[in-house]
Symmetry: C2
Subunit: 493 residues, 2 copies
């Protein structure tokens, strides 16, 4: 066996442990009885320590060093795996175990404090914890090292090869146009009644429709499933075990459905990764910005399109008498309705990215030290006023609404908008092929999925995100396709 093959065996062991932890995580979110929280935490912390020990062990290091110096007839996936393992190892060994333990303790307390602070809408309860989280993030950034600013080191953990400065420039250019589109879309939407769809939608029938639709996109239910949680997510328990969740509103079937479309987009990516490479970079999704492109592509470019509902509205009407004889155009108008609102996770396509730009700016300044934690509520509200023309009624609907910072997830938000940009760019590229455009126009998604399989899914992490975008579309991530999509969706010129 070569050093590379031995390394793959060791990585396979780590993948068994990590995918086992994913089963435990999934179970915790979906089924675990409440009193088992403490024991489950012990199980998970045991598994994560074991995986970390193996991934930084002497055998791993020496095998990696040997494999790197082996004769250079590496396949693209072998080269990518060695590159990524080196990168991950170098990052992992720079963070001392004491800091890992400190972070775990700090974020555990911060999460509890955040829940309470949001409930009472009292930022002061969360502020000291956010300071600790920020302190640890800065320490980690310093240990990892960065070229220009600490945010770089964090962003790299989610989006390999991305630079904060580039993202900031991209977002700064986007902002005025996004605001203009959002404003026009919101104005146009005032004529659309808000509660047109409200009615009685039995959950069992929603589940049936969701399943039919996910199947029609190509989601394989012999290698996945859909369950119910308070917050929708997608998780991978093994190469053939991809689980989505959604939540149900018995008065509006579109809530669970768009959740499923979004998570099924993530799930199709995971189901399309090379199963034989499970647990290796070549069998792993490349970045959050590419992952989000898949969820947003199926949710928005497919799931909010006229062609999609031309096919599925009749079926929905069959299942839900509540829909009455709603016309396709009224239905589309309703699901394209835009409004300025405070909560990101409830935002529509027209206003969503303004939420992201605000968060990116604030957390970048927090890390650079140009914004103090105490100044967050005021800075949030000022920017919110500027972008949305309104001020949140309280911090619970403002700077306390998201869980990310309490979990130490700084540098994460930017990938949501990168995902939106990528989704439009990939979709527009795919439908340049007439056969894909035609099939997609008839709500037959096999050709579109096949294109994504080839140009995105099958690649795993062999190409970095920007190289993947270039290979798939001929261009790095850029705003034009997305802005074109928004303009067309909201009839804005």
């Amino acid at each position: 066996m070569t050093a590379y093959e031995n390394l793959c065996t060791l990585v396979g062991e780590i993948a068994l442990i990590q995918s086992t932890a994913s089963v435990l995580d999934w179970d915790q979110e979906t089924h675990m009885p409440s009193k088992s929280l403490e024991h489950r935490a012990q199980q998970l912390s045991y598994l994560s320590a074991k995986a970390h020990d193996l991934a930084t062990s002497d055998p791993f290091r020496s095998l990696l060093a040997q494999a790197e110096t082996a004769p250079a007839n590496q396949s693209p996936s072998e080269a990518a795996n060695l590159r990524e393992w080196r990168y991950e190892l170098d990052r992992a060994v720079r963070i001392p175990t004491t800091l890992v333990a400190e972070e775990s303790a700090v974020t555990s307390r911060a999460k509890h404090a955040w829940v309470e602070a949001r409930k009472r809408s009292e930022f002061a309860l969360f502020a000291p914890h956010l300071k600790h989280v920020l302190d640890i993030a800065r320490k980690k950034a310093a240990l990892w090292g960065f070229e220009e600013e600490p945010y770089d080191a964090l962003l790299m953990g989610y989006e390999r090869g991305a630079r904060t400065r580039d993202v900031a420039t991209l977002f700064a250019n986007l902002k005025p146009t996004l605001r203009a589109i959002a404003k026009a879309a919101v104005e146009r939407s005032q004529a659309i009644p808000k509660d047109l769809l409200r009615g009685d939608y039995p959950i069992a029938k929603q589940q049936q429709l969701n399943r039919e639709i996910a199947t029609s996109l190509g989601f394989d239910f012999d290698a996945g499933r859909i369950d119910t949680t308070a917050h929708p997510f997608c998780t991978t328990l093994g190469p053939n075990d991809i689980r989505l969740t959604t939540r149900y509103d018995a008065t509006d079937f579109t809530s669970s459905l768009f959740g499923v479309l979004h998570e099924a987009g993530h799930g199709l990516y995971e189901q399309g990764l090379p199963a034989a490479d499970f647990g290796r970079p070549s069998g792993t999704a490349v970045s959050l910005g590419i992952h989000e492109s898949q969820s947003r592509l199926w949710e928005n470019h497919v799931g909010r399109s006229e062609a999609f509902w031309k096919k599925w509205l009749p079926r929905a009407t069959e299942l839900f008498p509540s829909l009455g004889a709603i016309s396709l155009s009224d239905f589309l108008a309703t699901i394209h309705r835009a409004e300025f609102s405070c909560i990101r996770v409830e935002a529509d396509e027209a206003t969503y990215d303004l939420h992201i730009l605000l968060r990116f700016d604030l957390e970048r300044r927090l890390l650079n030290g140009t914004l103090e934690v105490e100044g967050v509520p005021a800075a949030w509200n000022a920017q919110f006023e500027e972008s949305f023309g309104m001020t949140p009624p309280d911090d619970a609907h403002g700077c306390l609404q998201d869980i990310h910072w309490s979990m130490g997830g700084l540098g994460y938000f930017a990938t949501y908008t990168l995902g939106n940009l990528n989704s439009a760019q990939l979709f527009q590229q795919a439908v340049r092929t007439p056969a894909i455009a035609e099939a997609t126009g008839e709500a037959n998604y096999a050709p579109l999925l096949a294109w994504l399989r080839t140009h995105v899914h099958a690649l795993g992490s062999t190409l970095r995100p920007s190289d993947l975008m270039r290979a798939a579309t001929g261009r790095p991530t850029e705003p034009a396709p997305y802005l074109e999509h928004l303009r067309s969706r909201f009839g804005v010129r």
Copy 2:
């Protein structure tokens, strides 16, 4: 830290791994998508190898040896834990890894062959696999060692301290009386219509009733749950995570309910074990024969009693219009109906043990070499004719019906009847306390559960099964209470 404390830490690690494997097992039975079977098998085999390595590791051995020679001021649970760890270690190290691997391969093939053989009702397809399984069981028995016969060594794995000869004597004495009771019960039952309860029982309402009833027994749903599987079971995923399953028949609500009562009996035992001792013998159920006593106690002594249905029949009638205005006595007659039938898992109280006695006798002879594998169908049918007055129509309804042998589970069946005997003996002892009898007569089960908590659950494995029975009831396991129960239930004198 003392050697004993260090040992507890190491055992805690093993318990984390094993309870993690239980989560994976449970998920596989309840939710896992079919294509994930191979990956799940890899995860489980990895975890079981890790647990086995730790449980037979040099640190474990040397800590155990140190703890055993430490000054003898041990608590009862410490003494029991040292005794059981020594016993388990000695058994574990006698079986070479090659035999473990061979057994796993043989039983995996045997299980597949059994499924096919049962489907086609062709014993010849299963016979060569049963020979392999038997061969391995004999090898293991020889390596473990036994006083009188190989069956002893296997039985000890399920029922510490039990001797085959004693069980055989007990069963031989039981048999004529059981046959007489069964015969009388079946004759008496012919006047009772078979399909009196058949109707329309929506599964959601069955689930509601099952949950209300399990709660009323004392099952804690914050530390457990009920799911749906083809074969009901109870499994422990952590000290506060006990999961039951049942199956639903939409035309008869008693099918899922008695499944829940049985499994909740197992679950109450598990919920009553000392949580702080999780994973140690002192926090682990003592034997299958005691475990089964708990399931049968709640299923039959409580769940088929008049007092129970006096309370719950009105509620069931409220939920299920199908029940109409059935009287309590008609209902009880129906759920006490006895008949001779071929399938053990569908057998009633009056005939169940005859199924067990037959299996015990055959597998004992197989192990002693006085019955050849080829002779199993004929021996089965002859004994069946003798006990039930009928011959199975084919081997699928005869010697191929149970999964146990294909999994290497020889020596297991006896514990079902031991459990029945123990259930009657424990129940009768408990209701000797007037307050318990009175509450139980009003379907208030808190006092009964409290008695079981004290005399059975809280003890874990600190007492051996026979000592537990003696401590709880003043007598070792004996047939009189059970026979008295059956006679009274079926009105046989």
